[in-house]
């Protein structure tokens, strides 16, 4: 009696199979052929090409991140954003703020996530301190995201390695500056801003590196 497809799949995948069945397959041309077909089918399935998502997919995600609430009609599945989601939105909103600079026409609309960043309560000392708080938070988020990335591939391009090294050197210098006593608040904000910018760049390099291997 021939082996079943289920038994042949077990043999193909190294799962335990009764010795009687295994012995039969070893000597039966029909079963051996079917086993080879199963191996080939798996290889063919794995060889199917990747499917590229529509180009506009990211725009929809970015819009969700920028606007905060989930899309209409789907709020029941995601009734409330966690604080992490809010932090992620803040990260993106901050990035957008760097791009738009301080043009009054580009200032955030009241009630938006970007506005939330702008209106983050400042510590008692100064408005500058409030900016620093938000930047420190962003810096932490980026650090956590960087830590979450898998290890770098064994073979890294020389240019990538150099870029990573330069960015890390820059971060070390900024950290040394931030550790200095009696730093003026505006200088501290500027340093944190630079730090977040460097970390963002470092993350982009690391993701680009991983994108080639994932």
């Amino acid at each position: 009696m021939h082996a079943t497809t289920e038994q042949l799949l077990s043999l193909r995948d190294g799962a335990p199979v009764a010795e009687l069945t295994a012995a039969h397959v070893r000597t039966c041309p029909t079963c051996r052929q079917e086993l080879e077909d199963l191996v080939e089918m798996r290889a063919r399935l794995r060889a199917l090409p990747e499917v590229a998502p529509p180009a506009a997919s990211w725009d929809a995600i970015a819009a969700q991140l920028a606007c905060g609430p989930a899309r209409p009609g789907r709020t029941t599945r995601h009734p409330a954003w966690s604080w992490l989601a809010m932090a992620a939105s803040i990260t993106l909103a901050l990035s957008l703020l760097w791009i738009v600079d301080d043009d009054p026409a580009d200032r955030p609309a009241p009630g938006t996530t970007t506005d939330l960043v702008a209106s983050t309560p400042a510590p008692s000392n100064s408005v500058q301190g409030g900016q620093a708080t938000a930047l420190v938070q962003t810096s932490r988020e980026l650090e956590a995201a960087l830590r979450a990335l898998p290890a770098a591939p064994r073979v890294t391009r020389a240019s990538t390695a150099l870029t990573v090294a330069e960015l890390e050197d820059g971060l070390m210098q900024i950290d040394a500056e931030l550790n200095r006593q009696g730093l003026p608040p505006e200088k501290e904000v500027a340093l944190w801003r630079q730090r977040v910018g460097l970390m963002d760049a470092l993350m982009q390099v690391r993701y680009a590196e991983l994108a080639e291997t994932y």
């Binding site: 199963l38 499917v51 898998p150 994108a211 994932y214």
Partner: protein
């Protein structure tokens, strides 16, 4: 390009492929990609550095795709396709379409699309994504034997579809000789 977008560029094709193959519906696959992206962005700060990033992303995407598969909307939309697969006459017409395809990969992709959604999900998750039967059973809320039997049936169906396709194809290529 900002950090989240770079992150997205890294996994979007893999996630969209997984969702497309399981759901056989581009619009739903895009929804899975968006839902997966939002979950990744929300939780990346809590991701453990010692875990595999790709595996974490894959698991989120799989859960989202299977949730779509379970939804009433998907079942309603897929009902006719499933009936066609069960009806030999209708299946024949699908195979004729498959036979028109010239590339082997296209024929396989079409045959995959003819499978029932559950069989397609099991075969894709097991043979391509590398999930174990235990993992698939847990993800689908079914037993290990369910996963094994669906995989075996999916292979039988795929083989039958492709074999019939190969028989039909010479006639399609040389209509005057038939």
């Amino acid at each position: 390009m900002k950090a989240h977008e770079v992150l997205y560029r890294g996994y979007s094709r893999a996630v969209f492929t997984l969702a497309s193959r399981i759901l056989d519906d581009a619009a739903q696959a895009e929804e899975v990609l968006q839902d997966t992206s939002m979950e990744i962005i929300r939780n990346v700060a809590g991701f453990r550095a010692d875990a595999a990033f790709g595996g974490w992303v894959k698991r989120i995407a799989t859960n989202k795709a299977l949730a779509h598969l379970r939804s009433a909307w998907h079942r309603k939309g897929r009902r006719f396709a499933d009936d066609e697969a069960a009806d030999p006459a209708m299946a024949g017409s699908v195979q004729s379409d498959v036979a028109i395809g010239v590339a082997d990969q296209e024929r396989l992709a079409r045959a995959l699309a003819v499978l029932t959604p559950t069989a397609r999900a099991v075969v894709w998750l097991y043979d391509v994504e590398g999930f174990s039967h235990e993992e698939i059973a847990a993800l689908m809320g079914k037993s290990v034997s369910f996963s094994k039997s669906r995989l075996a049936r999916a292979h039988q169906k795929l083989r039958a579809l492709l074999a019939e396709d190969e028989e039909v194809q010479p006639c399609m290529r040389q209509p005057n000789s038939c």
